[in-house]
């Protein structure tokens, strides 16, 4: 039973939104790109009948993208696309702006225009791949990431994305592990690649390896001063049954780093429960429920806890909420 619970907890981590990580990746990518974009837009002027106004637009666009002011950047990119319809750069920038405005379909259309006009660069393929991913077009996502990877074999990002896809959507942990191993070879200080490598090991029951990998991820998080809690949560999950006191330290650290992540609170609650600290467990579960009110599992665990505390009415209420949510929500990876 305890193993099942633990498995459930691990699965819920496995199902954490890839969307957020994709977003982080594109932020990273676009930030990196913005300096290149800037170079492009302030670089040699393109052919135009009205060079002054077009050059102004290019400068303005570069500045807006650098400042991540996407709402203002998109119409200027659109205007430049109309002025220079054959130049893939403006289509690409329009695609990036639309992606950042959370319009993946318009982003795909603009990025495809860039690709059809001969653009064949890793940033284009990565952006297009992530846009395909966001509308669940995984075959095309994989194709784009493969292209990006072939063009830039030392770039870890496409490999990392492919790993995340295998891990979170397909639950193919051994396949994902290979990608994360490659990603960590290419970019050894990328804590997320290291963490997810450990997570795959955990899911494949390679616990001693997973412990070591989470530890390595923690070293990176601390070195890079990142607010990334999952390696700590991973350590807590692995240690909670055998070394509960140590697990508690990690779980608390996870909550401290990312207090808005419900799974950090439910992990901490589980440890408190094992230690017999039921009021503390209740408090953490209530936070988890508040942070993710739609997740059925948190209500179920809270219901069981209330039953242990003899609060049958509260237990019944939580159980009913659990049943209602279970019948409403699709808990598969999203």
């Amino acid at each position: 039973m305890a193993k099942q619970k633990l498995q459930g907890l691990r699965m819920s981590i496995a199902f954490r939104s890839f969307r957020f990580l994709s977003f982080c990746l594109i932020v990273l990518q676009t930030l990196t790109e913005s300096s290149r974009i800037w170079a492009q837009t302030v670089g040699p002027a393109l052919q135009s009948n009205s060079p002054v106004s077009a050059d102004d637009q290019k400068r303005t666009l570069g500045e807006l993208m650098r400042q991540m002011r996407w709402v203002e950047a998109a119409p200027i990119a659109q205007a430049l696309v109309q002025t220079y319809p054959d130049d893939p750069n403006w289509h690409y920038l329009l695609g990036v702006a639309r992606w950042r405005l959370e319009d993946p379909i318009a982003a795909i259309q603009a990025l495809r225009e860039a690709e059809n006009r001969g653009m064949d660069t890793p940033p284009l393929h990565k952006a297009l791949g992530l846009a395909y991913y966001s509308i669940n077009q995984f075959i095309l996502f994989e194709m784009q990431m493969d292209k990006a990877s072939k063009l830039a074999p030392l770039d870890f990002e496409p490999i990392y994305s492919l790993g995340r896809y295998r891990e979170s959507i397909l639950n193919d942990y051994s396949g994902a592990l290979k990608f994360f191993e490659r990603a960590t070879l290419l970019q050894p200080d990328h804590s997320k690649s290291v963490y997810y490598k450990g997570h795959c090991q955990e899911m494949l029951d390679m616990w001693p390896e997973a412990l070591g990998t989470f530890q390595s991820a923690i070293v990176l998080v601390e070195k890079n001063r990142e607010r990334f809690s999952l390696p700590y949560q991973g350590m807590a999950r692995l240690l909670l049954e055998t070394k509960t006191a140590q697990a508690l330290v990690f779980a608390r650290k996870a909550v401290e780093l990312e207090p808005n992540l419900d799974s950090n609170h439910s992990t901490l609650a589980r440890i408190y429960e094992l230690q017999g600290k039921l009021p503390e467990a209740e408090q953490q579960l209530q936070i988890a429920v508040r942070l993710s009110p739609n997740k059925p599992g948190n209500h179920y665990v809270l219901s069981k806890l209330y039953r242990s505390l003899g609060r049958t009415e509260d237990a019944q209420a939580q159980l009913q909420t659990f049943q209602k949510l279970k019948a409403t929500y699709d808990e598969s990876p999203q």
Binding site: S17, P104, R112, N136, Q137, I139, N294, D330, P333
Partner: protein, 265 residues
């Protein structure tokens, strides 16, 4: 009514677009049921060109273009997993053009590929009773409309939504869809001259919709008038006139005048 029709089609198209983007992975009241609710089972384009062609349909503004593009898509990608969704867009384009035969044909092709698609079921169930005039198969069509509405209700019950969608939003969207199913039942009952049943279905449709719609109150008013409940009719028609849109407002006001010279307040 054409303008009203066009607004409804636009709304359905928006819902479809969102559904695609989400069925697809985030939030949508009309997220496709069953296998499509999970990203791992989302229909996949096999090539970029296939998706380009599909997106051209999905984002098309001109109904004639949407219809043509769908036909091209069908001929080029006859094995596409996106075919069912493409037919849905074609169905909505035909609805926009008030072409009932086209709507029925596209909708039924969509249903063959996605039998539980609530959006298609509701569109067909509501469109059929409006297009029976002079058709020898009208009794059969009414039976089909009723069956579609029943299937839609079952589909709505079985829908599973993404965790990212707040429960309140889902409940509101669900009530809206249920309301459309009752509207279809009401229309079928009206055509069969089962007036008390029609009133009861239109009441459920109009009053159960969290986003009140003029057309539903208009139908309720007409049903009340048909059973001789003039007070009920006046109240419902006034509400319809309030809610609009303009074309419907004119109709409601006309009906109010017909009802013994009563003018809207």
């Amino acid at each position: 009514m054409n303008r009203h029709n066009s607004l409804r089609v636009k709304k359905s198209k928006r819902i479809l677009l969102i559904a695609f983007a989400i069925m697809c992975g985030s939030v949508c009241p009309m997220a496709q049921v069953g296998p499509f609710s999970s990203p791992a089972h989302a229909p996949q384009a096999k090539t970029q060109e296939e998706l380009d062609a599909y997106l051209q349909i999905a984002t098309g503004q001109d109904p004639n273009m949407v219809i043509r593009n769908t036909e091209t898509f069908v001929s080029q990608y006859s094995q596409s997993m996106l075919l069912g969704m493409a037919y849905q867009y074609q169905m909505l384009a035909y609805e926009q053009k008030s072409d009932f035969q086209g709507l029925l044909s596209a909708g039924e092709k969509a249903l063959k590929l996605q039998p539980d698609n609530v959006n298609t079921l509701l569109t067909l169930a509501n469109a059929i009773p409006n297009a029976l005039a002079g058709r020898p198969d009208s009794a059969d069509l009414l039976t089909r409309a009723q069956e579609y509405a029943h299937r839609a209700l079952r589909g709505i019950d079985q829908m599973r939504i993404p965790l990212t969608m707040p429960l309140e939003r889902w409940e509101s969207s669900k009530a809206e869809m249920v309301s459309r199913a009752h509207e279809a039942f009401g229309q079928v009952a009206m055509k069969r001259n089962q007036l008390p049943l029609a009133v009861s279905e239109f009441e459920m449709a109009a009053r159960g919709n969290p986003k009140p719609r003029g057309s539903q109150f208009y139908r309720l008013g007409a049903a009340y008038a048909a059973i001789g409940n003039n007070n009920g009719a006046v109240t419902a028609l006034r509400r319809a006139a309030d809610l609009g849109p303009d074309a419907l407002r004119e109709l409601a006001e006309h009906e109010l005048k017909e009802l013994g010279g009563m003018h809207p307040e």
